[in-house]
Amino acid sequence: MHRFILCLFIFIGFLPEFLAQNHSIFVGGGLRSDALRDEGYSPLLFDGLGLSALLGYEKKSEKRETLWLLNFSQSRTTNSFGRELKATSVGLLNLNFYPRKENKISWGWSNSNGLQHRFITGFDNFNGRTDVFTSFGPAVKYNLPFTFKNQSFSFQAVSHFQILGFYLPSGYTSSLPKGFGYEPNGALRGFWESLYLFYPGGAFNAALWPKLQWHLSSGNSLSLNYIYEYTRLTGAKLHARSTGMWLMTLSMKLK
């Protein structure tokens, strides 16, 4: 019973803040075009198409806009000699902006988290390689609202550039990060020994996300998005990836 009362107090405590903000969730999906190179497998470039799904949550108040974006993607790529590589990725992006009324541009910060797994066909051993990274950096948003035939539209462009963080790449030879698998380590020590510092020059992750949004009278909106993301992790073996996603999203206002 006392737990219920505690939860109720917490809920009531956060209620005014919740009511002062606009909340919306959005879902979407679309096509992606991937180009990648993993020197743990091959010096050759792999490219191909795939699918992406997107789930997001946006919270807006007068002084701050926060966006959480969960993205799941799969693509099938081939190199110029026909070898196939399947790429799967999960990304969680957090964007925070501090808008000013008179300005179309708002600045903020971002946290980008990614898990990228690759599987190459025709290699019997060490055929899966995975990278995980988390990083922080500045973000910027440009917002241009306009009306056309009495309908409300906006053109938005968001960009983030990652500066500092850490990442765990696959090993020099092995599929697993260097602190695992062939090392007699526990999870914590293995994690520590596998860490690489994410910093400009050593690793790179940036994205550009323009979208054309049609604001419906219900408060919901439909958007056509293009998300371009470039990731370069110079771990034990270089992994670079350049991805473009065309997505349709539906944003639903919660309040």
Binding site: A35, N79, N125, G171, Y226
Partner: protein, 339 residues
């Protein structure tokens, strides 16, 4: 009105711009490396130099090997000629886990078995020992011979289920012993090896240690990690096991031999295995050919390399007169040990 028009034009420009760059994902990564014979040769030599695990054990001077073969490479040579040069260079590694695969050929070094007597005759096994009424449990063929269960396993690439192991353990209940024949078994999945070995012990045990190349320097390796045989959870065989090996018992079969050698209930009969102690890693050359080579080292508890082969407890060769008479000398020796 003017602002609205400007906004629409800006948006259209932006989307057209995006449309153009959206087809450029590929161009934002550097282009593929060159595919001239010299570039392909250099790439292969470099990767082997950086990631091959057995230069020291085999006392191979890889830089000297390069000096010998680089002279044979010229950019006007045909792809068949290039293949031959690369294949000969890789042959110097004396490693059955080293191959170069092109659309027209696959290079290999099989001297680890070809320079030795075969010591296995499948026809004799089929006709004299397995006969017509042998059991087939997954990849295992088994027959009771003079109250001894003879089990023949041709390749560790064939998946071994626990039901298959249960089948032989059930038949072995009243047997005087079990013979596992892995002669000329060229290896496969290591999981099948330790699942089978685990059926002959009631306690997990360490049988060796392994490390992997983790950097380009010659002594860049991970720490040594124990290799263990997990005991089968659904019961095991407690009698004597004889394992038959020959020089063509390779890779996972070498591991299996060492797993059984460390089992006090097991006796190894036949010949030292062929080796194949390094797990092969694969790579692709700029011209699309695929190669593989050993990237790990494994040591026995006596600090001997698996790569050099696992010795047997009782050395026996297939006698030619026995073979001519349809008899397997090695299997007969094993049967005698178990009587």
């Amino acid at each position: 009105m003017r602002n609205t028009l400007r906004s629409i034009i800006c948006s259209i420009y932006a989307m057209v711009f995006i449309g153009v760059i959206s087809s450029c994902e590929k161009t934002l990564l550097s282009s593929d490396p060159g595919t001239t014979p010299s570039e392909v040769f250099e790439y292969l030599w470099d990767d082997i130099q950086n990631r091959y695990a057995y230069f020291e054990l085999k006392q191979i001077d890889w830089k000297a090997v390069k000096e010998r073969y680089v002279m044979e490479v010229d950019n006007n040579m045909s792809e068949h000629e290039l293949f031959d040069v690369l294949a000969e260079m890789l042959f110097e590694l004396e490693d059955g886990h080293v191959n170069l695969t092109s659309p027209f050929n696959r290079s290999r070094n099989w001297e680890w078995q070809q320079n030795y007597p075969l010591n296995y005759n499948q026809g004799i096994i089929d006709r004299k020992y397995l006969g017509k009424d042998f059991y087939i449990s997954g990849p295992l063929r088994h027959q009771l011979i003079d109250s001894v269960l003879y089990v023949n396993y041709r390749s560790f690439t064939e998946s071994l289920r626990d039901d298959d192991i249960a089948a032989i353990l059930h038949r072995a209940q009243n047997a005087k012993g079990v013979i596992i024949d892995v002669r000329s078994n060229g290896g496969g999945a290591i999981n099948n090896a330790f699942n089978l070995a685990g059926a002959f012990t009631d306690q997990s045990y360490t049988y060796g240690k392994v490390r992997i190349k983790n950097g380009p320097c010659s002594d860049c390796f991970s720490s040594w990690t124990d290799l263990r045989v997990p005991a089968r959870t659904n019961g095991s065989y407690s009698g004597t096991v004889v394992v038959l090996t020959n020089r063509s018992s390779y890779s996972s079969t070498t591991y299996f031999a060492e797993m059984m050698r460390q089992n006090p209930r097991a006796i190894l009969v036949g010949n030292t295995t062929g080796g194949g102690g390094g797990s092969p890693v694969f790579g692709e050359l700029p011209n699309g050919w695929v190669y593989r080579f050993s990237s790990t080292q494994a040591l026995t508890l006596d600090d001997e390399h698996f790569e050099s082969g696992i010795p047997v407890d009782v050395e026996v060769d297939l006698d030619q007169s026995d073979e001519a008479g349809g008899k397997d000398t090695i299997l007969e020796s094993a049967l005698q040990l178990l009587q």
